[in-house]
């Protein structure tokens, strides 16, 4: 009997000890879970932070690139506009020099007299200068700008086309210089617009992708408008060789 009692006592002591050890184990497990949760949260926040910062910086770079490309467009337009007074001057001196050949070009020919054509060119230039905006974001603003500049282009082209009908004028060095300046101005505009569109495409794509669209909205970045291709413009030539 005493032995059974001792045994029971031993058993109950063992149970008591086992109950105390189980309580201690539960405490440790809770701390680990808390640490895991904290760690995961920290990593998520870190992940979000890195992504946000780098995405934001990338968007800033793209916006700067688009602004810089727009600056080139403006430079090209201004360069052409600056060309017009010289062009008009050159044509008037050219007319004086080639008076005999040009007699048939002025009043006697059909269409607009040359002097009026020159006046219209000057007016188109002033109009184009007035329409210029900086860093347009709205498509309609860009379309309006494009319209006035295109009118100026057409006026300049029409003026030169007038002389192309006369071989003796067309072969002169003076005409060659005028034509080169005009074509050069138009080509610079074309190149600048193309590069602007590429920069805008890059920006707009980044603002549509995730997480750029969220970061962009939060930071207030807006998509930009494109220069639309002129009618009859060819596709970009393949340069792969």
């Amino acid at each position: 009997m005493a032995w059974a009692s001792a045994k029971r006592s031993t058993v109950s002591n063992e149970s008591q000890q086992g109950g105390n050890g189980g309580g201690q184990a539960k405490g440790v497990s809770g701390a680990v879970v808390a640490a895991i949760v904290a760690g995961v949260l920290f990593l998520i926040i870190l992940f979000a932070g890195i992504t946000s910062v780098t995405t934001y910086n990338g968007l800033v770079n793209r916006v700067e690139a688009a602004d810089e490309a727009w600056g080139q467009v403006e430079t090209a337009y201004q360069r052409r506009a600056d060309l017009v007074p010289n062009l008009v001057d050159s044509v008037e001196r050219f007319m004086e020099h080639e008076r005999e050949t040009l007699e048939s070009v002025t009043e006697a020919r059909e269409g607009e007299p040359l002097s009026k054509q020159l006046e219209a060119l000057k007016a188109a230039r002033q109009s184009a200068q007035a329409e210029r905006a900086s860093a347009p974001t709205r498509a309609e603003t860009l379309a309006k700008l494009k319209g006035s500049q295109q009118q100026l282009s057409e006026r300049m082209t029409a003026l030169m086309a007038r002389f192309e009908a006369y071989p003796q004028l067309r072969s002169s060095d003076q005409f060659m210089r005028l034509q080169a300046q005009l074509e050069g101005a138009e080509n610079r505009i074309s190149v600048a617009r193309q590069r602007y569109n590429q920069a805008v495409s890059d920006l707009n794509s980044a603002l549509q992708r995730i997480p750029g669209r969220w970061i962009g909205q939060f930071a207030g970045f807006e998509p930009r408008a494109y220069f639309e291709a002129d009618e009859g413009a060819a596709d970009a030539p393949s340069v792969a060789e």
Partner: protein, 510 residues
């Protein structure tokens, strides 16, 4: 339990790494798609318009343009490019034309034979120098005139000469100097019809007329020639030409730009004097006027006439548009003997010029210009030079120079060796030899650098500057055939493929 914690910790670290990497990958969204530079070859003949030899010729010349004027000028031919303006701008960007220049100076000629159109694209940094009107001028008044005669390579090179002249004028006014590099093109340049199948152009109106010579004597004839060139008179039967000259000029392209250039040169150059001997005469300009070549005249039927045939053989221009005499074996040598006696110098071909007419470009001095050619280069036989066979080679190059205000004359040589070959080790092995004895040069000041040639191969440049005594200078100046030696081998001055020693060298020049 400890093992469990370690596992959890490791898992967290792994998760963290994955998340950070992913964040970086998402954030790194390439926002410029320029891609790498394409082949930096100077001539890419995709349309098979030029032969291999012609391509090499052009590449050599353009390499000198880069070395002497820091202009990276490439040529691309390709059929059916559609819009040549856009093609040129895009190809300029993809090939990073101008990258071989410290200042970003780049030019690119695109020729589309199938569409019969060409364009020269100009980098931003060069637009102030090569304005659109000038580019149109050299295309239409020079290049395409040769193309019409089916001389494409000649047309390209003749135009490059005009580019060199323009660069020289710009450098004289500090027009090419820049403190920072501006890369890329903005659409500058011009395009023109290539006229590849046109045939020679119709003669200029009114040029069938003869020119009137006012007065007698070679100078009067030269003045009539100047007026004819000013009017772009391309009539090859002018009475001011000798009979042989008329035969020589028939069928050869005579471009408006050449006529303009000749007229300008004759207007700007002041005649120094006329040397006569029997039925021959030479109109000379001051020897320092390196862009004013002498003119030869022969008396036929009682009249003085231009002997352009002999001039063409004897007087030639180098890549810097400086005249030089190729040989002493000609009937007009009598006109140059007093130059030799008086000043001891006679300008020679290939930019190799001496004495007071030496020309040096300081920029080239700082640039470590070099020249390397893959074929026909003789290897140095001196074992101490450490030059091996099997495709490695050594080339010696120098450069045209401009005279400085004073200081000792020095011979500057640059040896370029491909791959890792050491050019040569024994500096004292260098010697020079003119018509007389061999003259041993002293120990040079030596420096080394590395660069790449037009094909992308690594080159070691060893630069040697030898101080010359006056007798050594005279040896170089007076000799008709100058050789520079390295150990047991020697190189003829100016001989292509072997050595390209093009001039003397003054380190004190401004």
């Amino acid at each position: 339990m400890q093992r469990g914690s370690r596992l959890i910790f490791a898992g967290l670290v792994l998760l963290g790494g994955v998340l950070v990497t992913t964040a970086g990958f998402i954030a790194w969204q390439p926002w410029s798609s320029t891609g790498g530079a394409e082949d930096p070859q100077l001539v890419v003949d995709g349309a098979d318009l030029l032969g291999a030899e012609q391509s090499d010729r052009i590449a050599e010349f353009h390499e000198l343009l880069r070395a002497n004027h820091d202009i990276d000028y490439r040529v691309v031919t390709r059929d059916n490019v559609d819009d040549i303006d856009r093609f040129a701008a895009e190809a300029f960007r993809r090939r990073e034309v101008g990258s071989a220049s410290d200042a970003g100076h780049g030019l690119m000629l695109v020729i589309d034979p199938a569409s019969d159109v060409l364009r020269i694209e100009v980098s931003r940094s060069l637009e102030p120098v090569y304005v659109d009107a000038f580019v149109a001028y050299i295309e239409q008044r020079q290049m395409t005139e040769f193309f019409a005669h089916d001389r494409v390579a000649d047309g390209i090179l003749a135009t490059t000469e005009m580019i060199v002249t323009r660069a020289q004028r710009a450098e004289a006014n500090a027009g090419l100097k820049q403190t920072y590099k501006i890369e890329g093109s903005a659409g500058g340049g011009a395009k023109a019809s290539a006229r590849l199948d046109d045939g020679p152009s119709a003669r200029q109106q009114g040029t069938d007329q003869q020119v009137r010579v006012e007065g007698d004597g070679p100078v009067a004839v030269l003045e009539a020639y100047r007026r004819a060139m000013a009017n772009r008179n391309d009539n090859t039967d002018l009475a001011i030409y000798s009979a042989r000259t008329r035969e020589f000029m028939a069928g050869r392209p005579r471009t408006p730009a050449q006529a303009d250039n000749t007229a300008r040169s004759l207007r700007q150059c002041s005649v120094e004097g006329v040397q006569k001997q029997g039925d021959r005469a030479v109109v000379r300009y001051p020897i320092d006027a390196r862009q004013c070549p002498p003119y030869f005249f022969v008396r036929e039927e009682g009249r003085w006439r231009l002997d352009l045939v002999t001039m063409h053989k004897v007087v030639q221009m180098n890549h810097e548009n400086e005249w030089g005499i190729t040989t002493r074996d000609h009937p007009y040598q009598f006109a140059f003997e007093d130059w030799k006696q008086r000043a001891g110098w006679i300008p020679s071909r290939g930019g190799q010029s001496h004495g007071s007419s030496l020309v040096r470009t300081r920029y080239v001095e700082q640039k470590d210009a070099y020249y390397a050619k893959t074929q026909g280069v003789k290897l140095a036989g001196d074992k101490r030079s450490a030059v091996r066979g099997n495709g490695r080679f050594i080339a010696l190059s120098g450069r045209g120079i401009r005279r400085g205000e004073g200081g000792a004359w020095r011979l500057g040589l640059v040896a370029s060796c491909i791959d890792d070959a050491v050019c040569w080790e024994d500096d004292a092995a260098m010697w020079i030899k003119g018509d007389g004895e061999r003259v041993q040069l002293g120990a040079p000041v030596r420096s080394q650098s590395r660069t790449r040639d037009a094909n992308g191969r690594s080159l070691e440049l060893s630069k040697y500057v030898y101080r010359l005594r006056s007798d050594q200078l005279r040896t170089l100046a007076e000799a008709s055939d100058i050789r520079v030696g390295l150990g047991g081998e020697s190189y003829r001055l100016g001989q292509k493929g072997q050595a390209m020693i093009t001039g003397l060298y003054d380190e004190t020049a401004p």
